[in-house]
Each structure stands twice: as structure tokens, then as C-alpha cells.
Amino acid sequence: MERKKGFAIMSYNTMPERREGPVDPMPNPGSTEEGGGPRRPEGDSPEKGNLLKRMKKVDPKQAERYRQRTGE
């Protein structure tokens, strides 16, 4: 089934970078050494295409095999 409606399909490569985060920080009453507010996580960021590679590695049958017992 093709999606006929909804917002336009957005190419992965046109995804805006979120590295800077918004100007308004999350209140941070306890203050941390890094300060509060949304921002990118620590560590090196892999290349953009890595997430698509990660997606392609997912076994298409994985959800079919996935079974859980009912919880709350």
C-alpha cells in the first residue's frame, strides 16, 4: 500500500542537522558540568549513511519471530 496522503516523503539526505539544538534550554535547576538544554550526544558521530546501513541489516523476518507474553 502506498501512502497517498500525509506529509511529503523526506529524503534522509535532506534531513536538517540537529546538532545545534534549539535556543531555549530545558530548565536545569541542578546545573550540570555541561549545562542543560538539548544538544547532540557525546562522542564521534558516524557518517550520515550509517543509519540506513543499520536499517538494511535488520532481518525482514525479525518481527514475525518476535513473541512476548502479555504484560501490563
Partner: protein, 508 residues
């Protein structure tokens, strides 16, 4: 009174066995957290899911028959009920245990969203660390954990948000004020789901929903949580002085990967509860709330409307807008955190209506939909391809090198609101302004002298009547700070209790 927390049941798989025993796997996962042998400490007294907030006690729950069958089956296992539950209280005041065959992490009680987010993320790290240890024992990456709410075959497990509310608010007012809000909250807090399913039956591919839990909502009000699930759970288990408090136990929510979605889920719900307390909630009454939950979940264009009791129709966005406006009118300028919630709530509603691409990395369903559509374009597949449900599942994997959301976050495209230092601190200690912090401190300082623990109290070893720290009314931050200072400085639990009780006596 602001106090809230999250309970998250994780999905668990093991791929090296033809048949997996979920009881054993979940138990072993929790046990893997331990570096010493398991000691039974959780005190189950006071836990009674049969008490109903509508003012009565039910004789049975819908899940009792199934539960009894499990108990009978589990009775033949080579371990006890307590071994199977493996209930742990962690140094940060959290509870980590095997609940209904799912590893569950319950955050300590939090007073600020900042603390809640850090504690929730700490929970992800704790369960994944346990999986890493378990996998080391197994000799491979066989166990995987998922912070989601469905197995795509009709089995759901929960992420419950809890709020301490004054008992003085009549329950019927909570119901009336909350139902329209909860029906429409999924537009912000839904984790997104591929397909449609029903309780323990079927799976229909080819659809995308806002919410993982909507398919499992079957009634407006109920004390049940595993079958006949309600929009508003009526379980009356306050874990506090029952004369003064209720614990609102919401089971409709999805487990969020996006920190921003978690913050808005709890932040907006807290404000709506305060609106109800002040009798400032908008006057809305939906005709069929259960049908409306499913209808809105299956409308990712957000164009659909639901019927009100008065015969008119209203969109989900308009319902949220009405609550938002009432909150702005009532709470603007109250404090920094409230202003943040109001600003982001309003911006999110605007963007949902105008340019939701800007919510990628902030809201889970928007982020997941974007990932799936990108992938479909890349692979030239349609919505009926079973690969999409697998990608949906993997979005929630908490393994940092496998999970799709965590991959997105690692690329800097997810909205981070916690710092790594916040998470590290949450792994080690509880909030400094709630009794969760006191509970954690007791574990860190006097672990070998604790006889039993639960949300309201800590019992220490010694004497016929175990010396007990009663925290059923310990909610004022200043009192919590004093209690923490006493337990931090005391040489023994007895010294601490003596000092704490003397202080309380001198005040009375």
C-alpha cells in the same frame, strides 16, 4: 504536589534457542545486574491491585485466571516466587525486577522533568548493561531488549506514567478532566506502530499508527491492566498515606525513545492534573472515547475528527489546543519548568499542524514514520512489506549499536535534553528532593542492614519490631533534604532513625 515516575516493561528476546522460556530469561536478565547473590528484600505488603479508586474492591481481575495458571505452572519450577521476581532496589532508588515475564525498570520518584529524563535514560543503560553481562555468560549477543509496547502478534506490555495527586480531588473529576486529554495525547507521545492488531489476536500490515497502545485500549475505566485495558486505570494503590493521596496510574502511554516526547508526556499531563485540581479544565466530553483513541491513532494525517457528547465534532489537535490554552491561561510564569512545558507544548501543536518535519528527533511517531518512509523509498517497498514491522521493532532496541533510534541519536539528529553527566549521576543516586533519593541512599550506605524495602518504607535489621523508616508522607523537598542529611551523616541506621524521629517528635 509534583511527584511522578515511569515504569517500563522491556521486551526481551533470545535468538540461540528454539524455544525461549520468558520467565527464566527475564529473571536471568535481572539477576545479571547483580555482582553478588540475590537477596530477597522487596516488601510486597501494601500492593493490592484489586483496590479500585471508584471506592470499592474487586473480587478478581480479568488476568487472574491466566495469572493463576502461570502460578500453578511456575510452582513446578526449581525456584521460588521471590526468586522469579528477583526484585531489586538500586542505589538510585529505582526498582528493577521481573514483572510478568518482562524486565521492568521503575524510576525513583521525581519532582522535575530533568531528573525524570535522566532516570529514564539510566534505566535504559541499566537493562542494557544487564543484557551485556548476560550475553557475556551466554557467549554471544543472543539477548536483545526492546523499549516498546507490542510484539505485533497481539501481546502488549506497558510503560506507565504515575503521578501523586491529592485524595481531595474526587475521582470522577479526574476521569472527566483527563479522558479527552488522554485520548488525544498520543499525537504528541505516540511511539508509532506499523500495522494494526488486537488483544492476543491478529496483525494487519499496511498501516501506520501514532500509538503502540491504542489497539489495546478496550474500555474507558477499569482496574485491569493486562486484559480489558482502560484509558484510565482505576487501581488504587497510592504508595503513600491513602487518606491524603492517590497515585494516578496511567497505562495508556507508549514507551518513548525521544527524551522530548517523554518530557512533554509527563509535563503536559502534570499540568492537566493541576488544571483539574483548580477546576480550570476545558469542558469537553467525547461520545466514544475508546473508539476515538483508535481512530486518532490510525490518522497520521491528523485530519480526522471525533464526536463529542453534545453532537459536535472536534479534531485531536483541537482537543489538545483547548487544554493547552487553559494551561497557558492558568500557569504562565509559574516557574521555569512550567514555562518550558507550555512553550514546547504550544510549538509542538503548531508544528503538528503546519510542518511536522521539524519534529523529527523530538516525537517518536514522526521520527519513526520519517525513517520508514525514507527506507521504503530507498528499497522501493510498500507499506505491506513485513520488513517495516521489523524496522519498527528495531527502532526500540536499546543496544547502542543496533537500535535505530539510538543510531539516530548517535548521529546527532535526536533532541537531547540530558547530559551524559546527568545520566551517570542518575545511575548512581536518586533525586535529591524526593524519597527516591533517600531510598537509594539507604541502599548505598546500609545495604547489609536492610531487612526489606518498598516505595513507602525501609525496614532495617534489629529487634523484634524492625526499626523502620516510614516515608509514606515524606514529600516536602525540605524534609527530604533533612532526612538525607541525617542518613548521610549517621554511623548506623539506628542512629539515623533516632535522630530522624527525635526531629519529628520535636516538631509535633
Amino acid at each position: 504536589m509534583r511527584l511522578f515516575g515511569l515504569e517500563t516493561e522491556y521486551g526481551i528476546t533470545r535468538d540461540d534457542l528454539a524455544e525461549v522460556d520468558p520467565v527464566v530469561e527475564s529473571m536471568e536478565l535481572v539477576r545479571a545486574h547483580l555482582t553478588a547473590s540475590f537477596e530477597r528484600r522487596w516488601d510486597y505488603a501494601g500492593e493490592d491491585p484489586h483496590e479500585d479508586a471508584r471506592g470499592f474492591r474487586v473480587s478478581g481481575l480479568a488476568q487472574d485466571k491466566e495469572e493463576n495458571e502461570f502460578v500453578e505452572r511456575d510452582a513446578h519450577r526449581p525456584f521460588s516466587f521471590h526468586d522469579m521476581k528477583s526484585d531489586l532496589v538500586l542505589p538510585n532508588g529505582a526498582r528493577f525486577y521481573n514483572d510478568h515475564t518482562h524486565p521492568e525498570y521503575s524510576t525513583p520518584e521525581c519532582r522535575t522533568l530533568k531528573d525524570l529524563l535522566a532516570q529514564d535514560r539510566a534505566g535504559e543503560r541499566i537493562v542494557q548493561r544487564a543484557a551485556d553481562r548476560r550475553n557475556k555468560t551466554l557467549g554471544g549477543e543472543h539477548v536483545q531488549l526492546y523499549k516498546n509496547n507490542t510484539d505485533f502478534h497481539g501481546h502488549s506490555y506497558g510503560c506507565h506514567d504515575n503521578y501523586l495527586v491529592p485524595r481531595s480531588i474526587p475521582f470522577f473529576r479526574l476521569v472527566a478532566g483527563l479522558l479527552p486529554f488522554l485520548v488525544s495525547r498520543q499525537m504528541i507521545t505516540g511511539a508509532g506502530k506499523v500495522g494494526i492488531e488486537a488483544q492476543e489476536s491478529g496483525f494487519v500490515p499496511g498501516h501506520f499508527q501514532l500509538s503502540q497502545r491504542a489497539d489495546f485500549m478496550e474500555t474507558e475505566l477499569s482496574v485491569d491492566t493486562m486484559h480489558n485495558r482502560p484509558i484510565l486505570n482505576t487501581r488504587d494503590e497510592p504508595h503513600a498515606d491513602p487518606r491524603k493521596f492517590r497515585r494516578l496510574h496511567l497505562i495508556i502511554g507508549d514507551a518513548n525513545m525521544c527524551e522530548y516526547a517523554t518530557a512533554l508526556k509527563v509535563g503536559t499531563t502534570r499540568l492537566v492534573l493541576e488544571l483539574i485540581e483548580r477546576k480550570a479544565v476545558p469542558s469537553l466530553e467525547l461520545d466514544q472515547p475508546v473508539a476515538a483513541v483508535k481512530q486518532l491513532s490510525r490518522d497520521s494525517d491528523l485530519k480526522g475528527v471525533v464526536r463529542q457528547k453534545n453532537g459536535s465534532s472536534i479534531s485531536g489537535l483541537d482537543i489538545q489546543e483547548q487544554y493547552y490554552r487553559a494551561a497557558v491561561q492558568t500557569f504562565t510564569g509559574l516557574d521555569e519548568e512550567t514555562d518550558w512545558v507550555l512553550r514546547e507544548w504550544g510549538d509542538t501543536l503548531t508544528l503538528l499542524g503546519q510542518d511536522r518535519r521539524r519534529l523529527i528527533g523530538k516525537l517518536d511517531w514522526v521520527t519513526k514514520l520519517w525513517l520508514l518512509e525514507t527506507f521504503m523509498q530507498e528499497e522501493r517497498i510498500g507499506w505491506d512489506d513485513p520488513w517495516l514491522a521489523s524496522l519498527d521493532l528495531e527502532y526500540h532496541n536499546v543496544h547502542p549499536e543496533r537500535g535505530l533510534y539510538l543510531g539516530l541519536e548517535a548521529e546527532g539528529k535526536a533532541w537531547r535534553m540530558t547530559a551524559e553527566a546527568d545520566i551517570q549521576r542518575a545511575l548512581a543516586t536518586g533525586p535529591a528532593d524526593t524519597r527516591g533519593g533517600v531510598r537509594g541512599l539507604c541502599v548505598r550506605r546500609f545495604s547489609d542492614q536492610i531487612k526489606s524495602m518498598q516505595w513507602e518504607r525501609v525496614r532495617f535489621i534489629g529487634g523484634l519490631l524492625s526499626p523502620t523508616l516510614d516515608m509514606s508522607g515524606l514529600f516536602e523537598p525540605a524534609e527530604v533534604n533533612r532526612c538525607l542529611a541525617i542518613f548521610e551523616a549517621a554511623a548506623s541506621p539506628m542512629d539515623a532513625l533516632t535522630a530522624w524521629n527525635e526531629r519529628k517528635d520535636s516538631r509535633s
